[in-house]
C-alpha cells in the first residue's frame, strides 16, 4: 500500500465523518426481512411481473400496502390487520401462505421478524448490494487496532461482548500468509529470517516480499481461472484440445504486474476493441472464447449459438456482477430486478464475437518465438526459389495427352524391358554392370576409386578391378533393397585372380546386424579387421582359387550364419594383388527354406494402366480412381473425385500440375531432384509451424449476430423482439447515444463509479482468499437470495478503498493482511466456537484445507522437486492408466511428461474438462465447465488414497527422504525435526517424535530384510536418485515422509 494513498482514504473518511453505530434492530429490512420475503414469497409475488400471483408484489412497497376492498397485504404499523400476517399465521390449509406444495414453510422467528417489521412501519430499503457505494463512517473502538478493518470487526464484536483472538504465533502467521499470497509454504530459511527479524515492520516486509513474488500471480490466477472456466479442452462431446495457455499466462502476468482491476476487466472483455491493442491485450480477449464449445457432428449451429450466448451471460454476470442474471434466460428473474430482456440485451454485447458454432475453433493466432520466426524466415528463403523452379518448369511444360498408339507402345516397351531385365528366376543380382543402389559405395580410405573394366568381363558389358597394396576392399553399404536371406541360399561372385599379381587372400564379408559373416580364401591371417587379425569370426573357405581364369566363388549362407537374416551390406576384400570381379549375387534354389524368414513379397505384375500413367494424365486419373485415391493428398483428391468434365479450369490445372510434378515420367528426374532438396525443408518448416504456441483470441464481426429475446429460452422460436446491447435496466444505462454499445462500453461501465456491484463482489472474494469465507458468504449471488454480509460497512469501506486506490488489488490484499483481524489465531476456544461456530464475526482466523493445486505444490516444494518456472504450456503429471478411455473423436492416450515438466505447479496441469486430472479432482478442483466462485471443500477417502498412493506423492516422499538424510543431521531425532520444520514449519513434539521413531525403526528393519521391497518403493517416479544413503534407510525415511505428507496439518492452512 502506498502510504499516501492510505492517508487519502482516511481523509475522505473523516470528511464523511459521522460514525454510525448500527442499532440492534430485530427487523432490519435488508438483513432480516428481505431474505425471508425473497425466499418464501418472491417466487410468486416478486419481480417476475408476468407470473405474479393475485396482482400482489411484495418486492414493491406500493403494491404491498395498496388497499383493495379495505384489505391490504401490509398495513404499516398494524400487523394484526395486515393480510400478510393473517395468511402466514392461519391454520387453514387452503389459505395459508406460502402454500404447502411450495415446501416453503415459515419458521416462528421469521413470522416474528415480519410482525416486528410491519409494526415498525414496514419500511423498505434498497437492496444493500445495489446501493450506491459511499464511505461508511469508521466506528470507534479501543483494542488491537492495526487499520480500519479492525475498527469494523471489533466494534461489531464488542456489541456481543466478544473479544478478538490474539495474534497468532509467527510461524503460523508466515505459513498462512505464504499460502494465501503465493500458494506455497515458506522455506525454513524464510521462517528463520522472520523469527529473527526484530524490526517493527518485519511482518510488513514479509507481506511486501510475498506480493512481489512471481508466485503471487500464479496463486491469484488459480482462483481467477476457476471463475472464467479456463481449460485446455473444449468441453462438449469429443472434448478436443484447444490452444489458450497464453491467456492463462496473461492472467498470471497481470496479477504480478498488479494491473488495476478496471484495466484487467477491459482487457479481457474487450482487449481486441482497445485502440491499437497490444499482443497481450489481444491474448487477454481470449476470455470471450473460454466457454465450452462443440464439434459434434449433427449438432445444430443455431442451438449452439444460443447456448454460447447464454453461457457468456452466466459467466460475465457471475464473475463481475456476482449476479444470477443467467436465471432470466427463460423468464424474468424470480427474485432479482432482472428481466428476460435484460438477459438477451446483455448477451447482445457478445454478439460480435467471431465463432464457429459447431466445428473447428476460430481466431486462433500464432505466437512464434524470435528464434522460430528467424528460422521460419530462413526456411522460407530456401523454399521459395525451389518452389519457383517448380512453378516455372510446370509453366514451361506443354503437356499433351499421348495418342492411344503411343500408350500401347509404351506398355509393350516396358513389358519387354521387364522381361529382359528379369534375373534368372533364382538369381538375385547385386552387382553386374551397374552398381547397386546403396547408401555408400566406397573403397577403403577413399584412395581407390571404383574402377570398371570393359575389356575383361564374365557377364554383361564389364567387370570391375581392385588392386591392393596391403588390404583393399569394395563396400556396398546399406543396400537400398536389403535382401532377406533364406536358408539354402548361396551368395556367389565371379573372380579373376591376376596371374602376375595374385592376392594373399580374398574375403567376402556380409553385414546384417553386424559384419561378423566372413568367407575367406587363402591365407586366413592376411586380412585383419577391427585392428586385429582375429580369425575366429572368419569362415575358412580353403585355398585361393586358380588364377588367370573366371572362377565362381560360392558362399552358402548357412556356412556364414546368415540364414534368416537381412543382408544390408556386402564387401569384397583382398590382401595385396589384383582381382577382377564380376556378377555378384545370390542364388536361390527351389529348396531354399521360405519359413526361415517371412517370404519376400512377390512382385505384382504391373497394370497397363499404371504403365500408361507414367506418360498420360488421363490414364493416371483412371488409375488413381482404381486405387481408390490411396495416398493422394486431400486437396488433390477432392478434385480427382469429380468427373474430369465437371472440374473447373483452376482445379483441372491444379490436378495436372500435381501429376506433372509427381508422376509424369519424362520430368521425374527434374522434379525428383528438386524434391530431394525441398521436401526436408518443408518438413522442417511444417514441424516448426506446428510447434508454434497458439492462442484463441476474440475477433469482432463487422455485422454482429442478431439477438432476440427467445420466448421460454427456446432457440427455435424467432418471434421474440430484437434487442441491442444494454446493461440490466435496474442497474443503469449506458450513454452511448445512437451508437451500438460494445463490449468495451460494458467493461467501462462495470468499473465505473456508477456500478455498485463490481467492487463489492471482487473485494468480497479477496476477503475469501484471506479468510476462507466471504464477508457475504454467497460469493456468487449478491441478489435477494444471497446472504446479507456479516459486515456490510466493512465491505463498503473495502470497496471504496479498492476504487480509491485505483482498483489496486495488491493494495487491498495488503490492507487485509496487515489488519489484526487477519493476524488472529485460528484456534477457537470452546466458548467462541459455541457462540459463533461458523466464524461469521471473524473473532478468529479460518482453518481450512488447502486448494487442490496447493496440496500438490506443497508436497513438491517441500521435497525439493518443484520446478518453479512461471507460465508455459500445460503439463501432464502422472495419471492412472486408462483414465481417458471414455474420450473419443479422437481417442487419446495420456502420456505423462518427463523431466522438468513433471514437477510443475498444479495450476499448469493439462485441464481436460470432461476428465480433469483425478489427483486434483479428488481435492475438489473444478471441471472448468461453468464459473466456480467457491469450490466445495470435502474430506474424502479418495483424498487419502491420492496422498497415500499417487506416484506424485510417493516420488516426492522418497525425494524428501533423501533430503532428510542429506541435510537433516545424523540422529533420528534431528532428522525428524528437520522433516517437520521443512514440511509444517514447526518442531515435532515429543509424543510425535516417539510415534515416528517407532515407525522408522520398524520399517528400517523391514526394508533391511526385504531389500527388493526397498528397491521397488524407491523406483517410484521418473527421477533418478544419486543418493549415497543405504536403500533400507531411504525406504524407511520414505515411509516417514509419506506420513508427513498425509498429515491433516500438512494440507491445512490455519
Amino acid at each position: 500500500m502506498s502510504f499516501r494513498r492510505f492517508h487519502r482514504a482516511i481523509c475522505v473518511l473523516s470528511l464523511v465523518g459521522v460514525a454510525s453505530s448500527v442499532r440492534a434492530v430485530d427487523a432490519d429490512f435488508n438483513r432480516d426481512v428481505r431474505p425471508i420475503l425473497s425466499d418464501k414469497c418472491f417466487a410468486c409475488h416478486g419481480p417476475d411481473a408476468k407470473h405474479v400471483k393475485g396482482d400482489l408484489r411484495l418486492d414493491l412497497r406500493e403494491s404491498a400496502i395498496r388497499m383493495n376492498d379495505g384489505h391490504a397485504a401490509i398495513i404499516p404499523g398494524d400487523p394484526s390487520k395486515s393480510e400478510l400476517m393473517v395468511r402466514i399465521t392461519t391454520a387453514d390449509e387452503g389459505e395459508v401462505m406460502p402454500p404447502p406444495e411450495s415446501h416453503k414453510e415459515l419458521k416462528p422467528h421469521e413470522v416474528d421478524v415480519l410482525r416486528e417489521w410491519i409494526k415498525q412501519g414496514a419500511r423498505y430499503e434498497q437492496h444493500w448490494a445495489y446501493r450506491k457505494l459511499a464511505w461508511p463512517g469508521l466506528p470507534t473502538v479501543t483494542g488491537t487496532i492495526r487499520n480500519p478493518i479492525d475498527n469494523f470487526i471489533q466494534s461489531n464484536l464488542r456489541k456481543s461482548g466478544a473479544e478478538p483472538a490474539n495474534e497468532t504465533d509467527r510461524i503460523t502467521l508466515l505459513r498462512r500468509l505464504s499460502f494465501d499470497l503465493t500458494g506455497l509454504p515458506p522455506t525454513p530459511d524464510e521462517v528463520r529470517a522472520f523469527l529473527n527479524d526484530e524490526s517493527i515492520d518485519a511482518y510488513e516486509k514479509v507481506v511486501d516480499r510475498l506480493l512481489k513474488s512471481p508466485h503471487y500471480g500464479e496463486r491469484m490466477a488459480a482462483y481467477w481461472l476457476d471463475l472464467v472456466r479456463y481449460a485446455d479442452t473444449r468441453g462438449y462431446h469429443g472434448d478436443q484440445h484447444q490452444d489458450v495457455t497464453p491467456y492463462r499466462d496473461y492472467v498470471i502476468k497481470a496479477f504480478n504486474a498488479n494491473t488495476p482491476f478496471d484495466e484487467f476487466t477491459r482487457e479481457q472483455l474487450a482487449g481486441d476493441l482497445l485502440p491499437g491493442p497490444t499482443m497481450q491485450q489481444k491474448i487477454a480477449s481470449g476470455y470471450n472464447k473460454l466457454l465450452m464449445t462443440t464439434a459434434e457432428g449433427g449438432a445444430q449451429p443455431k442451438e449452439y449459438t444460443a447456448k454460447y450466448a447464454a453461457d457468456r451471460v452466466r459467466n460475465a454476470s457471475t464473475v463481475w456482477l456476482g449476479s444470477t442474471l443467467g436465471c432470466a434466460e427463460c423468464h424474468d428473474h424470480k427474485y432479482d430486478p432482472f428481466t428476460q430482456k435484460d438477459f438477451y440485451s446483455f448477451a447482445a454485447f457478445f454478439a460480435d464475437v467471431r465463432e464457429t458454432p459447431v466445428g473447428g475453433l476460430t481466431s486462433v493466432i500464432k505466437l512464434p518465438t524470435d528464434g522460430e520466426t528467424k528460422r521460419l524466415a530462413a526456411l522460407g528463403k530456401q523454399i521459395g526459389p525451389l518452389e519457383k523452379q517448380i512453378r516455372d518448369e510446370l509453366a514451361a511444360i506443354d503437356y499433351k495427352e499421348p495418342r492411344p498408339g503411343e500408350l500401347k507402345a509404351r506398355v509393350a516397351e516396358v513389358k519387354k524391358a521387364t522381361e529382359e531385365n528379369k534375373p534368372s528366376a533364382k538369381e538375385i543380382i547385386i552387382v553386374d554392370d551397374e552398381k547397386p543402389e546403396a547408401k555408400t559405395i566406397r573403397a577403403n580410405k577413399n584412395t581407390h576409386p571404383f574402377k570398371w573394366d570393359e575389356e575383361k568381363k564374365f557377364s554383361g558389358r564389364r567387370s570391375w578391378t581392385r588392386k591392393a597394396k596391403g588390404v583393399a576392399q569394395d563396400v556396398f553399404d546399406y543396400l537400398k533393397e536389403p535382401i532377406h536371406v533364406l536358408s539354402g541360399d548361396t551368395f556367389f561372385v565371379h573372380a579373376w585372380l591376376d596371374e602376375e599379381d595374385p592376392p594373399d587372400a580374398i574375403m567376402i564379408q556380409f553385414r546384417s546386424s553386424n559384419w561378423d559373416h566372413r568367407a575367406n580364401w587363402g591365407n586366413i591371417k592376411s586380412i585383419g579387421y577391427g585392428g586385429s587379425t582375429e580369425n575366429s569370426k572368419k569362415t575358412d573357405f580353403g585355398e585361393l582359387p586358380e588364377t588367370g581364369k573366371w572362377v565362381k566363388l560360392e558362399v552358402p549362407v548357412n556356412d556364414v550364419n546368415l540364414r534368416g537374416r537381412e543382408l544390408v551390406s556386402i564387401a569384397l576384400t583382398l590382401a595385396n594383388g589384383t582381382v577382377h570381379w564380376d556378377k555378384l549375387g545370390l542364388q536361390r534354389t527351389a529348396t531354399s527354406d521360405w519359413r526361415a524368414k517371412k517370404p519376400v513379397k512377390k512382385q505384382k505384375k504391373k497394370d497397363p494402366l499404371q504403365i500408361e500413367s507414367e506418360i498420360s494424365f488421363a490414364s493416371w486419373d483412371k488409375w488413381i480412381k482404381k486405387q481408390k485415391y490411396k495416398g493422394i493428398e486431400r486437396n488433390v483428391r477432392n478434385i480427382l473425385t469429380k468427373a474430369a468434365n465437371k472440374r473447373n479450369e483452376k482445379d483441372a490445372k491444379k490436378a495436372l500440375s500435381h501429376y506433372l510434378e509427381n508422376v509424369y515420367q519424362p520430368k521425374r528426374k527434374f522434379f525428383g531432384d528438386i524434391h530431394k532438396k525441398l521436401n526436408p525443408l518443408k518438413k522442417e518448416r511444417d514441424a516448426l509451424d506446428k510447434a508454434i504456441l497458439r492462442t484463441m483470441v476474440t475477433e469482432t464481426l463487422g455485422n454482429p449476430r442478431t439477438m432476440r429475446v427467445l420466448p421460454r429460452g427456446n432457440w427455435q422460436d424467432d418471434s421474440g423482439s430484437e434487442v441491442k446491447p444494454a446493461v440490466p435496466a435496474s442497474l443503469g444505462k449506458l450513454k452511448t447515444g445512437n451508437k451500438r454499445a460494445t463490449r468495451l462500453d460494458l467493461a467501462s461501465w462495470l468499473t465505473s463509479r456508477e456500478n455498485p456491484l463490481v467492487a463489492r463482489v471482487f473485494v468480497n472474494r479477496l476477503w475469501k482468499i484471506m479468510f476462507g469465507r466471504g464477508l457475504a458468504t454467497t460469493l456468487d449471488d449478491f441478489g435477494m437470495q444471497g446472504t446479507h454480509p456479516s459486515h456490510p460497512q466493512l465491505l463498503d469501506w473495502l470497496s471504496m478503498e479498492f476504487i480509491a486506490s485505483g482498483w489496486d488489488i495488491k493494495h487491498t490484499l495488503k490492507l487485509i493482511a496487515l489488519s489484526h483481524t487477519y493476524r488472529q489465531s485460528s484456534v477457537a476456544d470452546a466458548n467462541s466456537l459455541a457462540a459463533d461456530p461458523y466464524n461469521n464475526r471473524f473473532a478468529r482466523q479460518g482453518r481450512f484445507r488447502l486448494d487442490a493445486e496447493m496440496v500438490r505444490d506443497n508436497a513438491l516444494q517441500v521435497s525439493g522437486l518443484l520446478v518453479d518456472e512461471v507460465g508455459g504450456r500445460s503439463v501432464k503429471p502422472y495419471q492412472p492408466e486408462g483414465y481417458w478411455v471414455h474420450l473419443n473423436f479422437p481417442k487419446r492416450k495420456y502420456a505423462h511428461d518427463d523431466g522438468n515438466k513433471q514437477y510443475r505447479r498444479g495450476l499448469y496441469t493439462y485441464w481436460c474438462r470432461t476428465f480433469p486430472h483425478p489427483s486434483l479432482a479428488a481435492f475438489d478442483a473444478s471441471t472448468r465447465e461453468e464459473c466456480v466462485v467457491e469450490r466445495v471443500r470435502s474430506n474424502t477417502p479418495q483424498q487419502a488414497l491420492v496422498l497415500l498412493n499417487d506416484p506424485t506423492y510417493v516420488e516426492a516422499a522418497r525425494t524428501f527422504a533423501e533430503r532428510i538424510l542429506d541435510e537433516g543431521g545424523k540422529s533420528t531425532t534431528d532428522r525428524l525435526k528437520f522433516a517437520y520444520e521443512r514440511s509444517i514449519s514447526r518442531k515435532p513434539r515429543r509424543d510425535e517424535t516417539e510415534l515416528l521413531s517407532q515407525l522408522y525403526d520398524s520399517h528400517l528393519k523391514q526394508f533391511t530384510e526385504d531389500e527388493k521391497a526397498a528397491d521397488e518403493l524407491l523406483e517410484t517416479g521418473l527421477r533418478d536418485s544419486d543418493s549415497k544413503s543405504s536403500k533400507a534407510e531411504l525406504a524407511a525415511w520414505t515411509s516417514i515422509a509419506r506420513v508427513v505428507f498425509n498429515l491433516h496439518e500438512f494440507i491445512t492452512r490455519n
Partner: protein, 475 residues
C-alpha cells in the same frame, strides 16, 4: 434446513454434519489396537441430509443399465407396422416440420420400416424385439415405457439432462443427489459406482465424467469409477514395495498423529480426516475382494455370460450385483455402443447381443437372492432414433423413445405410453426425463421437490422446475 456450499462446509467443520458422536472412542480404539482399522466401520457414514424420508420407500438402490449412444426404439421395444408399410416413402412433413434434427439436417427424409420382427413374450404378452430373447424371458418383470421424451438431440447434452436434470453443466448427477439425500449403506465402498463397457457394433461416443459428477455438491457424493484397466478404483493400488502391513503402519501413524493434533487444536475437521483414512484403508482390501469374480460359481458366471472381470457388459452386470450386495446405493453401467447411424439392422442386433443375456441374468440373480424387491433396475439410453432413414441407419431422435424398468415398486409385465403410428412423437402418457427422475426419487421415498440445495439463490433440485411421478408404472 436448506443446504448451500457455505453451510455444508460449516457443518462439516462442526461434526454435526457427520451425525454421530461415537467416532472419537472408536477411532481411539482402532488406534490402540494395531490392525483394528478394518474393525471401525460406521463412524463416518453420511446418513443423508433428509433424516426422515418423505414417505415409505420401495427401493434401497438403483442399477442403471445405461445404453449409451441412443438405442433405436423402433427395433427394440416399440414396433411400428405402419412404418414398415411406409418404408422408402417420404416422411410426412406434418411430423418433421420445425422439429430439431441432428445429422439429417437439410437431407431428404424417408421412412425406414422396422428392421427386426417382434414377438410376444411372457404371460403379459409384452411385445419385444426378437433381438432380445433373454430379456423376453423376464418380460413379466419389466415395465416398458414407450413414451419417453428428452430435450437434447446431441449425445453430450442429452446425457447431461438424463443424469442431472438440466442442460447446464456443473450440476449434480442423480447418484450424487441420492447420496446427498440418503447416504450410503456401506463404509467400505463408495456409495455411487460407475462401470462402463465398450460395444463392438457402432461408434463408441465419448462419455464425460460430468455424467457422474457431484456438481455443486461436495465431491464425496461423486460417482467413483470401477475400472477394468489399471487399479479398479483410482489410486487404490499401493506403491511398489509397500505391503498391506506397511501401508497399515503408515495409516495408523497418520491417524495417531492427527489425533494428537486434534487435541492440540480442537479442529473438528480432523476427526473426519481420521475416519476417511480408515475408510480409504478398508477400500484397499474391499475393492480387490469385490472385483475378484473367481469366487463366483461357474453356473453364475455362465448365467451372465462372462468368464471374469474383463470389462464386458456381462462382467459389469455381475459386478453390479456384488456392489448391490455390499450396500452400494447407485450403480450405473454405461454400455457405449448404441449410436447406429448406419447399418442399424445388423448393428443393433450385435449390440443387443452384447447386453441381452446379462440384463436378464441380473434380474434373475437379484430375484433368487431376494434383492429384486428393493432394487430398481432401469434400462435405456439418452434418446431414441428417427423413424427416418439415414442411409441404412437412423439418426438421433428426442420426441419419442423407449426405456424399461424392473424391481421394487414397479408394475412388471406392463407397457406404458405410446408413440404415434410412425414412432415419431410420444403421444400418450408422455414421460419427460424430469418425470423419470421424479419417479426414481419417489421410489426411494423422496419427494423430488423437497430434496434441494441452495445454489446461486435457488433451491436447486434434480428435476429443475418440472417433474411428475409416473404412477402408471408403479405397482
Amino acid at each position: 434446513m436448506t443446504m448451500n456450499i457455505q453451510t455444508l462446509n460449516d457443518l462439516s467443520n462442526r461434526r454435526t454434519f457427520l451425525g454421530r458422536a461415537g467416532l472419537g472412542s472408536i477411532a481411539l480404539a482402532s488406534l490402540l489396537k494395531p490392525g483394528a482399522l478394518q474393525a471401525a466401520p460406521g463412524v463416518d457414514r453420511w446418513t443423508g441430509t433428509l433424516g426422515r424420508l418423505h414417505h415409505t420407500p420401495k427401493i434401497k438402490r438403483i442399477i442403471h443399465l445405461y445404453m449409451a449412444g441412443g438405442p433405436t426404439h423402433l427395433e427394440t421395444f416399440d414396433f411400428k407396422p405402419e412404418l414398415r408399410k411406409m418404408d422408402g416413402k417420404g416422411m410426412p412433413e406434418s411430423f418433421t416440420k420445425g422439429q430439431p434434427i441432428a445429422q439429417l439436417q437439410n437431407k431428404e427424409l424417408k421412412c425406414m420400416g422396422p428392421q427386426h420382427d417382434f414377438q410376444h413374450f411372457g404371460q403379459s404378452k409384452q411385445y419385444i424385439s426378437e433381438i432380445f430373447p433373454h430379456i423376453g424371458t423376464v418380460a413379466d418383470d419389466i415395465a416398458i415405457v414407450r413414451s419417453m421424451r428428452t430435450d437434447a438431440i446431441n449425445h453430450d447434452p442429452a446425457h447431461t439432462l438424463m443424469n442431472t436434470g438440466t442442460l447446464i453443466s456443473g450440476r449434480p448427477s442423480i447418484g450424487s443427489w441420492m447420496l446427498y439425500g440418503l447416504g450410503a449403506e456401506t463404509d467400505e465402498l463408495p456409495g455411487f459406482v460407475v462401470l462402463s463397457s465398450i460395444g463392438k457394433h457402432g461408434q463408441s461416443q465419448p462419455i464425460s465424467a460430468r455424467q457422474w459428477h457431484s456438481g455443486f455438491l461436495p465431491s464425496r457424493f461423486q460417482g467413483v469409477e470401477l475400472r477394468s484397466v489399471g487399479d479398479p478404483v483410482l489410486y487404490v493400488g499401493r506403491p511398489g514395495g509397500v505391503t498391506m502391513g506397511r501401508q497399515r503402519d503408515i495409516v495408523e501413524t497418520i491417524n495417531k498423529l492427527n489425533l494428537l493434533h486434534e487435541r492440540a487444536t480442537r479442529d473438528p475437521e480432523i476427526r473426519t480426516r481420521i475416519a476417511q483414512y480408515e475408510m480409504a484403508f478398508r477400500m484397499q482390501t474391499s475393492v480387490p475382494d469385490l472385483v475378484d469374480l473367481a469366487g463366483e460359481p461357474e453356473s453364475i458366471r455362465e448365467m451372465y455370460g462372462t468368464k471374469g472381470a474383463d470389462g464386458s457388459f456381462a462382467a459389469n452386470c455381475l459386478l453390479a450385483r456384488r456392489l448391490a450386495e455390499r450396500g452400494v446405493r447407485f450403480i450405473q453401467m454405461y454400455h457405449r455402443g448404441w449410436d447406429h447411424h448406419g447399418s442399424v439392422k445388423s448393428k443393433v442386433a450385435g449390440t443387443a447381443g452384447e447386453v441381452d443375456q446379462a440384463c436378464a441374468a441380473l434380474i434373475k440373480d437379484l430375484k433368487q437372492r431376494g434383492m429384486f424387491e428393493d432394487t430398481l433396475i432401469m434400462w435405456g439410453g439418452e434418446f431414441g432414433r428417427t423413424p427416418m432413414a439415414q442411409g441404412n441407419g437412423r439418426d438421433h431422435h428426442i420426441k419419442g423413445f423407449s426405456m424399461w424398468f424392473a424391481g421394487g415398486g414397479i408394475k412388471g409385465g406392463t407397457s406404458y405410453g405410446s408413440t404415434d403410428e410412425l414412432g415419431y412423437n410420444a403421444v400418450d402418457d408422455i414421460v419427460h426425463v424430469n418425470d423419470l427422475q421424479a419417479t426414481i426419487l419417489h421410489l426411494l421415498g423422496i419427494d423430488h421437490k423437497r430434496l434441494t440445495f441452495k445454489f446461486q439463490g435457488l433451491d436447486m433440485r434434480l428435476t429443475g422446475i418440472a417433474g411428475n411421478v409416473v404412477d402408471g408404472i408403479l405397482a
